[in-house]
C-alpha cells in the first residue's frame, strides 16, 4: 500500500504526507455545506493544513504550547489539529457545549494562548472567559474563528478568520516554510499528539496527555483488527473533545486513509447519515436506542398490512439474522426466508436508517439493551461492543467478528494486557496507555503504576470458557448495603434504562437497608403514548407526574425487581420506593457529564430533600430546583412529586422458579 518505511511514520503530519504520496486524489474529507457534499482530496487537504500551520507560525505559535479547538465537527477544525501538531504544539479539543465556566477551567489549566473557535457563539464564550481570566497569567493572545457570520463588528486586534490566517500563512510560505519543515521533521513517537480533558464523573476534568505512540499504535492495531480500508467512510458527528472521535476521525482516518464526512449541522445529522451511508460507524447506545424508538413509533402508525409484514419478518430476522452474521450453519430454507425479508423489510429499513453499507459498527460508553443490540444485529448490521477509556486511547477490549454478545465487552484488543485486581477492579497495560495527567502528577501516580498498569475504576470479571470481559459497575460505586448485600447501582440502572419509557435512572442504597430510585422518563416514548391515549400535558414536569405514567413506570420497576431477585448476588438491590424527577438530568446543571454519565455525588447533594423523602416514608414532596438554561441564565423549577412504593420479591424464594 505504501512505499514509505513504516518506521518514519511517527506523527500525524507524517501520516498525512504518506497519504498524499500514496493516494493524493482519494477523498479525505467531505462536508455538507450549501446543500452539497463539498470534498477535499488528501492533496488538497494537505495544502490547506500546511497553509494553516504556516499561519500559526506567523502568529508566533511556539513548540509545546497548547491550542484550544472548540466547535462542531468540521474539516477545518480537524485540519487545525494536524496543523498545530505540525508546529510542534499541542491541540486541545474542547466540548463545544461546555459553558463558559467549564471552558475557563480548561483554558486556564492548559494555559492556551491560541484558540481556534468554530463560530460566533464559541468566540463569545472565549471572550467571556478571557475577561474572567484577566490577570491570572493565562492570556488568550489570539482567536482564529472559522465561521465569519456575525463577526464583523468584533474588535479584531486579537482575532482573525481562520481563512485569513491561512492566507497570511500562504503569503509567508517562502519565509517560514523551512522552519515548518524542520518542526515537522523533529516529531517523534514521544511527542505529544493531543491533550484531551476527561469529563470526569468526579471532580475537575483532568488533561490526558496522549503521545504520537499512543495514538498511532492504537489506530494501527484497531484498524487491522477490523480490516478497515481506504475506501471506508465514516460520519464524524461525536464531540471532537472525546477521545473516540480523535481516534476514529484523526488516528484511524490518517492511518488507513479513509474518508471523514462531516454533517451540515447537528439537526441534519440523520439525513446526512442516510446520504453518506457510512461503512464504519460508531454511536453511543443512546443513538441506537433513539433510532429504534423512532422506527417503532412510525411502525405503530403504519397500515395493517405493512405492520404485519414488519412484525413477521422481524420475527424471522431475530431467529436467523444473528446466526447468519456469526457464520453459524443456517438451513437453505431459512436463508431463503431471510433473503425475502431483506427484500421486503430489512433492506429498505437499513436504507432509511443509513446503515445499508455498514461493515463495522461499534457502540460503547454505556451498556446497551439486549433487545436493541439484537434488533440491529438481526438486520444484518455488524454492531459490536467495545470497552475503552481516554487513558487507553480508547481501546481496552472489543468484540471480534463472530463472537458478539450484548452482555460482554469482548476480548482484549491487540496489544492490550488485562488483569483483575483483588477488589475486582480491571487493570490494563497497552501501547495506548496515556503519558500523564497534565500538571497533576498525583493523579497520574494513583492511576498508573510504575510498570504501566492502569486502573480502570471499573469492576469486572472474565467469563469462564470464552475469555470475554464483563463489566459490573464502577469499582467505587459498588458498595455494601446495611445488611451486607452487594450494591451495584449501575447494574440496576441499566436494567431500568432498557425500557424505552425510561431515559435515566439513579439508584441509591449504599449503606442503607433498602434501595430507592430517581427516574427520568423518555419524553419521546412517553409523549407518544400520551398522544395515543388522549392524555393532555403541558410540560415534561406535568407528564412525569401523571398517575398513569407512574403506574407504567411502577410496572417496569417491579419487572426489574423480579429479574434482580433471580440473581442471589444482587437480590438485595431491589427497588422499594421510587419517584419520577420533575426535570431531565442535564449536563448544563452539572448532574451529568458531557458524555451523559450521571454524577452520583452531585445528584445526591442537589436532591438531598428528595432522597430523605424516599427513605422517610412520605407519599409526596414539594421541591424547588435550580436549573441552568442553554444561554447560562438560571431559573427555578417548583414541583410536588409523588413517591411510589414498588412490589419487591422475597429474596431467595423465587430462585427455584427461575
Amino acid at each position: 500500500m505504501t512505499t514509505v518505511p513504516q518506521g518514519a511514520l511517527q506523527s500525524l503530519p507524517a501520516l498525512l504526507a504518506r497519504n498524499v504520496q500514496s493516494f493524493p486524489t482519494r477523498p479525505a474529507y467531505r462536508e455538507k455545506e450549501f446543500g452539497i457534499w463539498q470534498s477535499w482530496t488528501w492533496a488538497e487537504a494537505a495544502e490547506e493544513i500546511r497553509a494553516m500551520a504556516l499561519g500559526f507560525l506567523v502568529l508566533g505559535l511556539e513548540r509545546g504550547e497548547h491550542v484550544a479547538i472548540i466547535g462542531r465537527n468540521r474539516p477545518a477544525l480537524y485540519w487545525a489539529m494536524i496543523a498545530v501538531d505540525m508546529c510542534g504544539a499541542v491541540p486541545v479539543p474542547l466540548y463545544q457545549d461546555a459553558v463558559a465556566d467549564e471552558m475557563a477551567y480548561v483554558l486556564d489549566h492548559c494555559g492556551a494562548r491560541f484558540v481556534v473557535a468554530g463560530d460566533q457563539e464559541q468566540v463569545d464564550k472565549v471572550l467571556e472567559v478571557q475577561e474572567k481570566l484577566a490577570g491570572s497569567g493565562t492570556d488568550v493572545a489570539h482567536i482564529a474563528y472559522l465561521d465569519k457570520r456575525g463577526m464583523r463588528k468584533y474588535d479584531h486586534a486579537k482575532m482573525n478568520a481562520l481563512a485569513d490566517v491561512q492566507a497570511e500563512g500562504r503569503a509567508a510560505a517562502t519565509r517560514l516554510g523551512g522552519e515548518l519543515d524542520a518542526r515537522i521533521a523533529e516529531l517523534t513517537y514521544d511527542h505529544t499528539c493531543v491533550m484531551l480533558y476527561t469529563s470526569g464523573t468526579t471532580g475537575k476534568p483532568k488533561g490526558v496527555v496522549l503521545s504520537n505512540r499512543n495514538i498511532i499504535e492504537t489506530s494501527k492495531n484497531s484498524a487491522e483488527f477490523d480490516h478497515l480500508r481506504t475506501s471506508d467512510d465514516i460520519l464524524a458527528y461525536l464531540p471532537m473533545a472525546w477521545v473516540g472521535d480523535f481516534i476514529f476521525s484523526m488516528g484511524q482516518a490518517l492511518w488507513t486513509g479513509f474518508t471523514v464526512n462531516c454533517p451540515e449541522n447537528a439537526a441534519t445529522m440523520m439525513t446526512d447519515l442516510r446520504e453518506i451511508g457510512p461503512t464504519y460507524f460508531f454511536a453511543p447506545p443512546r443513538v441506537f436506542e433513539t433510532q429504534l424508538t423512532n422506527v417503532m413509533i412510525r411502525m405503530e402508525d403504519a397500515g395493517r398490512f405493512k405492520k404485519r409484514m414488519f412484525d413477521h419478518y422481524m420475527g424471522v430476522a431475530r431467529r436467523i439474522g444473528p446466526a447468519i452474521l456469526d457464520g453459524r450453519p443456517v438451513s437453505a430454507m431459512d436463508r431463503f426466508r431471510y433473503w425475502l425479508g431483506n427484500v421486503f423489510v430489512y433492506g429498505p429499513l437499513k436504507n432509511t436508517l443509513g446503515f445499508s453499507r455498514i461493515r463495522v459498527g461499534y457502540t460503547a460508553g454505556e451498556a446497551i439493551g439486549p433487545e436493541i443490540f439484537d434488533f440491529y444485529r438481526s438486520l444484518g448490521i455488524n454492531l459490536k461492543q467495545l470497552y475503552g477509556q481516554t487513558e487507553a486511547s480508547v481501546f481496552i477490549t472489543q468484540q471480534p467478528d463472530g463472537q458478539v454478545r450484548s452482555d460482554t465487552v469482548g476480548v482484549p484488543s491487540p496489544g492490550v494486557e488485562l488483569k483483575i485486581g483483588e477488589n475486582g477492579e480491571v487493570f490494563y497495560r497497552s501501547p495506548g496507555v496515556f503519558v500523564e495527567y497534565f500538571k497533576n502528577a498525583e493523579s497520574t501516580a494513583s492511576t498508573k503504576d510504575k510498570d504501566g498498569w492502569v486502573a480502570t475504576g471499573d469492576a469486572g470479571f472474565f467469563e469462564d470458557g470464552t475469555g470475554h470481559l464483563r463489566i459490573i459497575d464502577r469499582a467505587k460505586d459498588v458498595g455494601k448495603m446495611a445488611d451486607g448485600h452487594l450494591f451495584a447501582p449501575k447494574y440496576i440502572e441499566n436494567k431500568l434504562k432498557f425500557y424505552p419509557n425510561i431515559l435515566e435512572a439513579v439508584v441509591f442504597g449504599a449503606g442503607r437497608a433498602t434501595c430507592t430510585a430517581f427516574i427520568n422518563i423518555d419524553l419521546t416514548a412517553v409523549g407518544n403514548w400520551a398522544e395515543r391515549n388522549n392524555i393532555a400535558y403541558a410540560s415534561y414536569q406535568e407528564l412525569s407526574q401523571h398517575p398513569k405514567v407512574l403506574e407504567t413506570i411502577a410496572g417496569h420497576v417491579e419487572e426489574v425487581n423480579r429479574s434482580v431477585a433471580a440473581d442471589p448476588m444482587l437480590a438485595g438491590c431491589q427497588i422499594h420506593r421510587f419517584l419520577i424527577l420533575h426535570k431531565e438530568l442535564d449536563a448544563d446543571d452539572g448532574e451529568m457529564t458531557r458524555t451523559r454519565k450521571v454524577r452520583r455525588k452531585v445528584i445526591e447533594e442537589k436532591f438531598a430533600d428528595l432522597i430523605d423523602a424516599l427513605y422517610g416514608g412520605k407519599d409526596s414532596i414539594y421541591t424547588e430546583t435550580e436549573v441552568t438554561y442553554e444561554d447560562g441564565r438560571k431559573g427555578a423549577i417548583k414541583a410536588t412529586l409523588t413517591i411510589r412504593d414498588a412490589v419487591v420479591q422475597p429474596v431467595g424464594q423465587r430462585m427455584a422458579a427461575e
Partner: protein, 273 residues
C-alpha cells in the same frame, strides 16, 4: 430629477446610515369616504431599520402597502432611489429592489422550503420557459447559480434541516423564517416586514430579532417593519414612525418616541375630564 439626500447619520452602536432611500411626501390614502392615511411624510434611509408602529387600525398596514406600491395614494408622492414612483405592477416593484413578508404567511404550502425560496429568485432569472423546461444550456447554469444563492440564505437563516420539507408541515415560527428567506432571495434593497413577530413565543422572537439584525448587518439591507411588540421595536429599530387614526403623531429615535406625550396618550389612552 435626482433629489437623493446624501447626508446620513451614525447610530448609537456605530453603524453608518446613508442618504434617503425612500421618501413619502404628504401621503393621503382614502377608501371611499374613509381616510386611512392623512397627510403623512417621512423618509427611510439607506441601511437603517425603520419601524412603523401604532395601535390597531392606525393605518400601519395601509402605509406598508403604499410603500410596496400595492396601494396608490390619492394625494402625495412616493420617491424611491431619487425617482418619483408612479403606479406599478408587483413584478416591477420586485425588480426595483423591494421585497416583503406578509402578516398572515403567504407561502406555497405544497412546495418544499427550497422551492419556495427559489421563487424569490424569479426576478433574477432570464431564460425562457422552453429553455427552463428542457434544462438546457443557459437555463441550467442560471438555475445552478440561483440555487447557490438560495443555499447561502438557507445557511444564513439556519434552516438546512428543513430544506426538503413541504412548507405545510412546518410550525408557524419556521414558516415565518422561510418567508423571510424568500424575501431575502430576491436580494432586495428595501425589505418590508409586516409583523414579523406576530404570534411567536419569546424564543422565536429572539431568534427572529437576531436574524433581522444580522440581515441588516451582513447584507446591508434597509428594513422597514411593522410590529406590535414594543420591546422588539424599541430594541431593533433606529428610527420609529408612530401612527394613530391615520395620522403621524411621532417620528424619531426609540428614546424620543418613548417620551413623546402624544404617543403615550395614543397607547395608554387619555382621561376624559
Amino acid at each position: 430629477m435626482n433629489q437623493m439626500n446624501t447626508e446620513g447619520y451614525t447610530t448609537a452602536d456605530g453603524r453608518k446610515i446613508g442618504g434617503v432611500l425612500m421618501e413619502m411626501k404628504n401621503i393621503t390614502l382614502r377608501f371611499g369616504g374613509v381616510n386611512a392615511i392623512t397627510n403623512i411624510s417621512f423618509d427611510i434611509r439607506e441601511g437603517e431599520i425603520r419601524a412603523i408602529i401604532g395601535p390597531n387600525g392606525a393605518g400601519k398596514s395601509s402605509m406598508l402597502n403604499v410603500i410596496s406600491g400595492f396601494y396608490v395614494p390619492q394625494e402625495g408622492e412616493v420617491w424611491f432611489k431619487g425617482y418619483k414612483r408612479g403606479p406599478m405592477k408587483p413584478y416591477e416593484v420586485a425588480r426595483l429592489g423591494i421585497a416583503r413578508t406578509f402578516q398572515n404567511i403567504a407561502l406555497f404550502d405544497g412546495m418544499s422550503v427550497l422551492d419556495n425560496i427559489m421563487t424569490g429568485r424569479l426576478t433574477h432569472m432570464q431564460t425562457g420557459l422552453l429553455a427552463q423546461s428542457l434544462w438546457w444550456g443557459k437555463a441550467e447554469k442560471e438555475e445552478t447559480e440561483n440555487r447557490a444563492k438560495v443555499e447561502k440564505i438557507i445557511d444564513f437563516l439556519e434552516i438546512q434541516a428543513i430544506r426538503k420539507t413541504p412548507v405545510g408541515r412546518l410550525p408557524y415560527g419556521l414558516k415565518k423564517r422561510v418567508e423571510l428567506a424568500r424575501a431575502l432571495a430576491a436580494e432586495p434593497q428595501l425589505l418590508l416586514l409586516d409583523e414579523p413577530m406576530a404570534g411567536m413565543n419569546v424564543e422565536e422572537k429572539e431568534d427572529m430579532s437576531r436574524f433581522i439584525l444580522d440581515v441588516n448587518d451582513e447584507f446591508g439591507t434597509t428594513i422597514a417593519l411593522i410590529e406590535h411588540d414594543m420591546g422588539v421595536v424599541m430594541d431593533l429599530s433606529d428610527r420609529v414612525v408612530v401612527m394613530d387614526y391615520g395620522k403621524k403623531i411621532g417620528d424619531g429615535t426609540p428614546d424620543e418616541v418613548r417620551s413623546n406625550q402624544a404617543v403615550i396618550d395614543a397607547y395608554l389612552g387619555v382621561a376624559h375630564d
